[in-house]
Amino acid sequence: MSAQAHPESINVKLHLWRQAGPEDPGSFEKVELKDISTHMSFLEMIDVANEQILEGGGVAVCFDHDCREGICGMCSMVINGQVHGPEPGVTTCQLHMRSFADGDEIYVEPFRASGFPIVRDLVVDRSALDKIVMAGGYISVNTGSPQDANSMLVPKDKADLAMDAAACIGCGACVAACPNAAAMLFTGAKVSQLALLPQGQPERASRVLGMVDTMDSLGFGNCTNEYECMAACPKEIDVSNIARMNREYLRSSIGSAEGV
């Protein structure tokens, strides 16, 4: 790295959302942190805040996290009004304190969507996304021995598009960032990933019908093509996946014999 434009450490005023349970109205708790290394990740900074809260006799703030390397999709937070914070293309765990300036006020809120009920503090229940996948986001194959590598041809462009869609880690940032709390980028990515590949063809129609109907039943909003989802997505999933899902849904519901 070349000359650093940012200081080695900063002081920040943290406002953490505290909510005892789903019914509690909740409010911000202010925590002033001194000498936070700018090399820390955002989650490490919250770890430090929690130690400070515990030393002061308080109760640590609950937040979701697991891999801390941008692949599990657990670290759901809205930082100063932006999902996964101000940097594009990263999860909260990959966000570093060098993205903040000395003296910054930092507001941390949970994902807010009726489809993601708040469990406690910053922890929300994102299992609705699992329900959408359970409604068809898979292929049914007998897992025998692998077949010959060249027996099923996949064009390079389709493979690339499928791979791009499969980069979705299911973190729910699209839902949290969507002005309508819609889950259409997530569902679009999961539908696309399989619709583009030969292995996805046998269940192509039933998959999209099942997944969209399930998505509709879980309290998510309807896409109005504002594209906040794509701008917030840590994996930069493209909204063309939503168009593909719309296409797949209409051709399956109107143009196929599925679901008569």
Binding site: P179, A182, V212, T224, R244, S253
Partner: protein, 217 residues
């Protein structure tokens, strides 16, 4: 027998597709409406425009076309308002601090507001030129009379700017809703959408602006 159809019509994507199709159909009407109205500028006494208005007025199929237009409008509006209410419910408690990520546009943010302004404008417009169609006064002079008043011209300017903003998002959005997104064409569609919204807005704005500031009432 038609359960697949009701299932589609009730789904999020099905209803969005109907909003998009009715919106596109209304855009189609606006293009024809503007083209026809341009006869207003063909001469100074409004004879061409009056002849055009008479031709439409005397067409026996006019009521059918009008009913079709009203149905398109009501279906578009009804579904769009319902979707908007559902979207509000999908985030019952909003963010304390919120900052856009860079996807939204002035048009996309305001669809329901510009839609409601367009609705009020259309009601006013019909009251002016559909309901008070006297036999003794020519259409051209009626248009001149209504649009030379500050309140009349002002209402048209506001209504048309709202329509322009609605369409700046609406055109490109409707194609995405219908599943039409393509690496070659989508960038063109965006430009075309802004162009179409601009052309319709400026085209219709010619009426209140030239009549109000032209002072030839």
């Amino acid at each position: 027998m038609l359960s697949w159809l009701t299932r589609t019509a009730r789904s999020s994507i099905g209803r969005k597709a109907v909003v998009a199709l009715t919106g596109l159909a209304l855009i189609g009407f606006l293009v024809v409406h503007l083209a026809g109205n341009m006869t207003f500028f063909a001469d100074s006494d409004g004879a061409t425009f009056d002849a055009y208005a008479d031709t439409i007025g005397n067409n026996p199929l006019l009521p059918l076309a009008e009913i079709g237009l009203v149905v398109l409008f009501l279906v578009h509006m009804g579904l769009a308002v319902r979707l908007t209410l559902e979207n509000k419910k999908a985030r019952s408690k909003g963010y304390m601090v919120s900052k856009a990520h860079g996807g939204r546009t002035p048009g996309s943010r305001t669809m329901i507001f510009t839609g409601v302004i367009v609705l009020l404008f259309v009601i006013l417009h019909l009251a002016h030129f559909r309901l008070q169609k006297g036999d003794d006064v020519s259409m051209a002079s009626l248009v001149r009379f209504e649009l030379s008043r500050p309140l009349g011209a002002g209402a048209y300017v506001v209504g048309l700017l709202a329509l322009g903003l609605h369409l700046s998002h609406g055109f490109q959005s409707s194609l995405q809703t219908l599943g039409l997104n393509h690496p070659k064409y989508t960038p063109l569609v965006k430009v075309l959408g802004y162009g179409l919204a601009g052309l319709l807005t400026v085209g219709f704005l010619l009426f209140p602006l030239t009549i109000f500031f032209g002072g030839n009432s």
